[in-house]
Amino acid sequence: MDFPMFHLDWLNDRFLIAAVAIIHVMINHGLAVGFIPYITWLEFKGVQRAGREQIADWEWDRLIHNKMKVGFIITTTIGAMTGVGIWFTVALVSPSSIGSLIRVFYWAWFTEWIVFVTEVVLISIYYLSWESANKSLRSKLKHIRFGAFLSIASWITMVIIVSILSFMMDPGNWNTHKSLFNGFTNPIYIPQLFFRTPVAMLMGGVFGMLLTTLFTKKRSTLRIQVVRLGGKWILSWTPIALAGALYYWNAMPEAMKANMSTAVGSMDFAEYYDILKYFIVGATILSVLLAIWAIWKPQKVNVTLVIVPCLLIFGFLGIFERVREFVRKPYVIGGYMYSNLLREEDYALYKKDGILKHATYTSVQEITPENKIEAGKNVFMLTCSRCHTSNGINSIVDVFEKMYGRGKPLDEESMSAYIPNMHQGRTFMPPFPGNKKELEAIVAYIKQLQGTRESLQGAQVEGIKVNPLQNMEQAVKAYGDSVLVSKK
């Protein structure tokens, strides 16, 4: 309403956020939180394995250092940039919600930032001082201790960010408390942390094994030994990851129930939720198989054998994130702001006046038979475009054709009956905010869209049209004097 609408009409706006966020979470979990303790542990094993006259097994140490190099490069490039990228994409797609969240969570994110800066400094020191620490046993052990310290620091970033994530899923709290403390105490916090921690360790171990197979020669003793140890790492974390996943899986519907205005799970959620079950079972069995194979027949472990479980376990996390996102619907901030970025409390006003009148950027304010379609396009942009496209992913024509039959001409009357009530049956949808005329306009627009398949350009391409009711002229007329008076 108050921001120019950035819109990707094919890819879907939320997809952009999801892609960036999921890459970031995977790198954060698999290559930082879970990987660093794994590397530190192996570095320590390298010292243990060396004879009395040596500081460490150097061949071993070099391999672990190389593995760390990959982790270091990826986390400080793709990892760091996707982290910033989440801010960028969310600001583009969902400015009202992220703006509101920052105003309340400023300190939480500031703290997160300090921990994040510390983490980057520590990870750089850990990696860059590796070789110089190899001079004496004392400095080597100090380096290993440093690695342990770094592991804890990265885990702490997770402790904080999970709290922010949990808060966003927590029903109603926004309106009552607005404090981060709620993030820590809400019912989904502990399950999430308990799930994410061992899964990160698991991912770190599987990714580590992939690197081992890439960096060592086939059948070399080094490979056999590192693979076997890696197998033990994976095997010891898998049961904990399974327990965490089940705990989280069981806690999720509770959060879901409380969040949904109508207290039911939708079919779509049930579908995701079912898939998740198979993923939990699949990922667990696969990890156990990989681990057992690695311990039992390490000489037979190779790149192709590891890459499949590696991708699957990373995908496992991805689907969990998807479900977590879904739990939030129809809100983006529970009980406060719907996923169309409109505040629940303003609905009464929009119902009364219509939304176009209050929109800062729209090319139509008063709907007439001549501008009906154009008006509908504006209403679509303002109320649907955060999740739906005209022709791309999750397109509006597609969702209606799915209901009323593929290729059949859409019936305006049915759509007009459906839209004002869709949130009753499809509880993940926010209620339609507009008035009756706007409903007719959007229905006419969707109907025309089915025929023309024209695409809808966002503000980044088309620019914006300022609503004459919301321009400077009106503002000065209405508030100019009071602003002057208040200054005196």
Partner: protein, 448 residues
């Protein structure tokens, strides 16, 4: 009111987010400027460092010591870039909080370019690592190796234009209505001179960093270089700083002249003049260091150059903030007043809502089926018609199944299962009350 009459009709006055700032504005501003200056220093070391690496590696084709020098600087770039990114998050958060409407609007209007920063910088970072780690391996493919860093430098030179365009565009809501994508926003006045001043600043900061880096006692210059001495490297640093300062002076002047009048006042000009003087002072010291005839004399200038540069950065940052406040002041006041008025309007509408009863289409002609019919229309009619299949089966079929089983129908509506293979599953309606369910079933079962 100083409002340009021609622009009032195309200048939007949006509403702000109706939430208080998390802390006093002065503190937020302090955090913004402080964290931004830290961030920008590392950005300058990253951009300047990669430019110098490229320049030195090319010179290194003829003189091996330059190649070694390029390698040494390349090693600092990959560290400084990590700092630049993480330190950037705090000012980003702060500007988002303080200037929510302005910053996000500018972001959206230049959306594609703004997003492209992420993949572009990621690629540039990966290139700097590739360049650093293949220095020896690609020693015999020097031109190819140089082109890796050249590509990274190119990206590093493009990205600041996107940032500058955004922080510039956010100051001019009266222009938003005319912007169509990044390129049109790039051509707004003041962006280009500020960009060129920034490139000068990158060289300035990198030059003085090189002086410090090579002056550290623990840094063993004689083991690294064939002919370059510590003093030779310091002179190189001062040379780069002097060139950078020269560019800053020239383009700084153009920045000042081309500054749109909107945000200027005497304080802004005062601060900018102080900044300009600091630049000249820094240049004077830097020149003295460069032309000194021995290392000792040269070293004496180090702190003078460094402090005057840091002082300039602080003053310049302050003048930008002052300009920003001045430029947006009136607009922000109007926006705040409007936000307040909207909140009241919304509250009033909430207190006397358009009632739900009005939403029900009661048709008196239907008698005791009227309410059921209206409820059916509201909740069911988008999927069910009387005689034909729509999304779900027609009412007639329901009547056949549930004729003597009202409870069965109610249970189904509350929590449906999946019966028909070729139909999508029906969502549940547990939100309907018992009375509503009775009305609906009464209506459904009345259809013959």
């Amino acid at each position: 009111m100083q409002v340009n009459l021609l622009q009032v009709s195309t200048t939007p006055v949006p509403r702000d987010l109706p939430l208080d700032l998390p802390l006093p504005e002065w503190l937020l501003v302090t955090l913004l400027i402080g964290s931004f200056l830290l961030h920008i220093i590392f950005v300058k070391l990253m951009v300047g460092g990669s430019i110098i690496t490229l320049w030195a590696e090319i010179k290194g084709l003829k003189n091996r010591d330059y190649d070694l020098f390029a390698y040494e600087i390349a090693k600092t770039v990959t560290v400084n870039k990590s700092m630049a990114v993480v330190l950037g998050v705090a000012p980003l958060l702060s500007i988002n909080t303080l200037y929510t409407i302005y910053f996000y609007s500018a972001n959206a209007l230049t959306g594609l370019a703004w997003f492209m920063i992420i993949p572009l910088v990621t690629v540039a970072f990966l290139l700097t690592y590739l360049h650093k780690y293949t220095w020896r391996a690609m020693a015999s493919y020097k031109y190819l190796h140089i082109s890796i860093i050249a590509l990274a430098v190119m990206i590093f030179l493009i990205v600041p234009t996107i940032f500058l365009t955004n922080v510039n565009l956010m100051l001019f809501p009266e222009r938003w209505g005319y912007i169509k994508g990044f390129l049109s926003a790039l051509t707004l006045p003041n962006v280009l001179p500020r960009y060129l001043e920034f490139i000068g600043a990158c060289l300035t900061v990198t030059g003085i960093f090189i002086v410090w880096y090579n002056g550290r006692k623990s840094y063993q210059v004689h083991l690294l270089y064939e002919t370059f001495s510590r003093d030779r490297l310091k002179r190189l640093g001062y040379y780069i700083t002097t060139v950078g300062l020269g560019l800053q002076v020239i383009f700084g002047l153009i920045v000042m002249i081309s500054l749109p009048a909107k945000g200027i006042n005497f304080e802004v000009i005062e601060l900018m003049v102080v900044g300009g003087i600091m630049l000249l002072v820094a240049m004077w010291f830097s020149w003295k260091a460069l032309s000194a005839d021995n290392e000792l004399k040269r070293d004496r200038q180090f702190w003078k150059v460094l402090i005057s540069i840091l002082f300039f950065i602080l003053v310049y940052g302050g003048s930008r903030q002052l300009y920003r406040e001045q430029a947006l002041h009136q607009h922000r006041e109007l926006m705040a007043a409007k936000t307040k008025a909207f909140e009241q309007m919304s509250k009033k509408a909430r207190e006397s809502p358009v009632s739900d009863a009005e939403n029900l289409d009661i048709d008196p002609a239907l008698g005791n089926l009227a309410k059921g019919s209206a409820l059916f229309k509201q909740n069911c009619s988008s999927c069910h018609k009387e005689k034909q299949r729509l999304v779900g089966p027609p009412i007639q079929e329901m009547t056949t199944i549930y004729r003597d089983n009202e409870k069965g129908l109610k249970d189904w509506i509350k929590a449906p299962g999946k019966k028909r293979v070729d139909y999508p599953q029906m969502p549940g309606f547990p939100q309907l009350s018992e009375v509503e369910l009775t009305e609906i079933t009464k209506y459904v079962l009345s259809i013959k």
